[in-house]
Amino acid sequence: MAAMQFETPPAPAAAAPPAKPFTKKFWKSVRDFPMLYLGALIIVLLILAAVLAPVISPHNPTTQFSDGLTESGIPVGPSAKFPLGADNLGRDILSRVLYGAQVSLLVGVISTVINLVLGVLVGTVAGYFGGWVDNVLMRVTDIILAFPLLLFAMALVAVLGPSLWNVLFAIGVLGWGTMARVVRGQVLAVKEFEYVQAERALGASNTRIMFRVILPNIIGPVIVLSTLNVGQNILVEAGLSFLGIGIQPPTPSWGNMIEAGMQTYQVAPWTLWFPGLALVIAVLGFNLLGDGLRDILDPRNTQH
């Protein structure tokens, strides 16, 4: 009986659903992808720290304070004057960490842009043309990938001389291997689609097909990889600076701060902790953002 009484079915798709207010959509999205937003938040804070470093730092990052060291020459711990303590030369660690964010972001982002350009170029050309072009370019990529990036960059910086721009350049021209491989794989898949053939039938040139037709279709993975790449490159920069061939003291960089912290770790552990913590949080932020973007851009993920 009951089954015969059909109620008018609710018309879900017929009328356009009332547009949700933006804030509501935003919070739903935050609930769906909490890690993505955490990563984004970290990065925003990082950028603020770097940009506002001259304003919000309590001290000049290179000023050596006599009251930063105890009478026996040990760095003082966190206090009102030095919120995160002082380092082995009596400089304020908070100020140095904030200024260090400038270096890390600068190197991380610009070297990634260089990686991006080179990797996309090599990967697209290799995947699109195939044959011997592919072979040559991918073998070069294999060679690039066969060396540990840090070691390779060390060699290059050793030749060029240590400076911010040389570090950035070295990481930029050496770190595009993974990008090239990923892009090539994506291009191989996309170039078989009928719309690529259709575009060719319209008289489009190879360059046009590669960069106007195929590239926009693979932009998702490229963005994800680039984001992860920034974190990676920040680490390499820290590594180089730690080894003394990156950013040269007294310019603060998390890498050279950690190196300096190593010497006083026994008596003043905060000299090591805080730059280390900053580095971990920054890289974590980029990794969370990258993973989150991957989830969002994954077509199999229908949540959004």
Binding site: Y195, A198, A201, L202, G203, A204, S205, P216, N217
Partner: protein, 320 residues
């Protein structure tokens, strides 16, 4: 009326496992100005390959010989750059799958105006207006809005209309339509065919219609060429082919179609399968499936014989 396209002794070979196999052999046909030629055959008989070779879109390793003359120029000899200025401009193409032949990341308008900007040197603004006019002419409602939509917002039939708009944007002399309605519903098919006929007539465009659907051929074409296993076996005006098919393969194709009128009889399939590229029979390629095959059929392939005016068939049954 002159011939817009003449294909002469076209041979296409593919390389498989280090050996070349002939996919298209000795194919010749021509299309007059404003004419629609149907190229009919089963899957794998070489009709799509033939159409791609006209556009020079076959990927290596492929060997092509013979001549493909468009307005007297052999397209196979043209440098790539000149070929590009012909593609989409003088000869354009409609593909089978409307769902996948539009680029998902670009707006409809961008994809149509692209070839106008590329070939006709229109400014962005002019191209946009022309695009809206084109969308209107292919029967798309609300063209001013659709122009800014993405392909996934349109149905299959709508997308095929967009494909036609793209193909006709530069008013080509020749339109190659590779199974343009195969992926569509029957009702939409008729609409799309009507549309193609209409826009072709308006622009005096010749059509090379590739299909396996004889119904579509009957509706659209002036002449038809029947292909089997890489060769043309029969060619002639549509009416003659349908009324008086001469090649046993053509006869078989027509006999396997259901008829609306006349006595109800069982449909007659053609026994057997299309031979594979690697395993072509000697002599006439249809001989193994032909009920009327003779000894000579299995040894040598026949030449063309004229049946009636402009109706020729490649079969030993018609040899004098």
């Amino acid at each position: 009326m002159g011939n817009i396209l003449e294909v002469e002794n076209l041979n296409i070979q593919f390389r498989l496992d280090e050996k070349y196999y002939t996919a298209v052999q000795d194919v010749s046909f021509s299309i007059r100005e404003g004419e629609t030629l149907g190229l009919v055959g089963e899957s794998g008989c070489g009709k799509s390959v033939t159409s791609l070779s006209i556009m020079r879109l076959l990927q290596p390793p492929t060997q092509i010989s013979g001549q493909i003359r468009y307005k007297g120029k052999n397209l196979l000899d043209l440098p790539e750059k000149q070929m590009r200025s012909i593609r989409g401009n003088e000869i354009s193409m409609i593909f089978q799958e409307p769902m996948t032949s539009l680029n998902p990341v670009h707006r409809i308008g961008t994809q149509i105006s692209e070839s106008l900007i590329l070939h006709k040197d229109l400014s962005g603004k002019q191209a946009r207006q022309e695009t809206i006019r084109l969308l209107q002419s292919v029967g798309i409602p609300r063209p001013e809005q659709i122009v800014d939509e993405f392909p996934h917002q349109l149905s299959g039939g709508m997308r095929q209309r967009v494909m036609i708009a793209i193909a006709m944007a530069c008013k080509p002399q020749l339109l190659i339509a590779d199974e343009p309605t195969t992926a569509l519903d029957v009702t939409i098919q008729a609409q799309i065919l009507d549309l193609m006929r209409k826009v072709a007539r308006e622009n005096r465009t010749s059509i090379l219609l590739i299909t396996h659907d004889l119904g579509v051929v009957a509706e659209m074409c002036d002449r038809v060429a029947v292909m089997y296993a890489g060769r043309i076996v029969e060619e002639g005006p549509v009416r003659q082919i349908f009324r008086n098919p001469q090649h046993p393969y053509t006869q078989g194709l027509l006999a396997s179609l259901p008829k609306v009128d006349g006595p109800r009889t069982r449909l007659q399939p053609i026994e057997g399968n299309v031979p594979s590229l690697k395993n072509m029979p000697q002599g006439c390629r249809f001989a193994p499936r032909c009920r009327r095959a003779m000894d000579v059929c299995r040894q040598r392939d026949a030449d063309f014989h004229l049946v009636e005016d402009a109706h020729r068939v490649r079969c030993w049954l018609h040899a004098e």
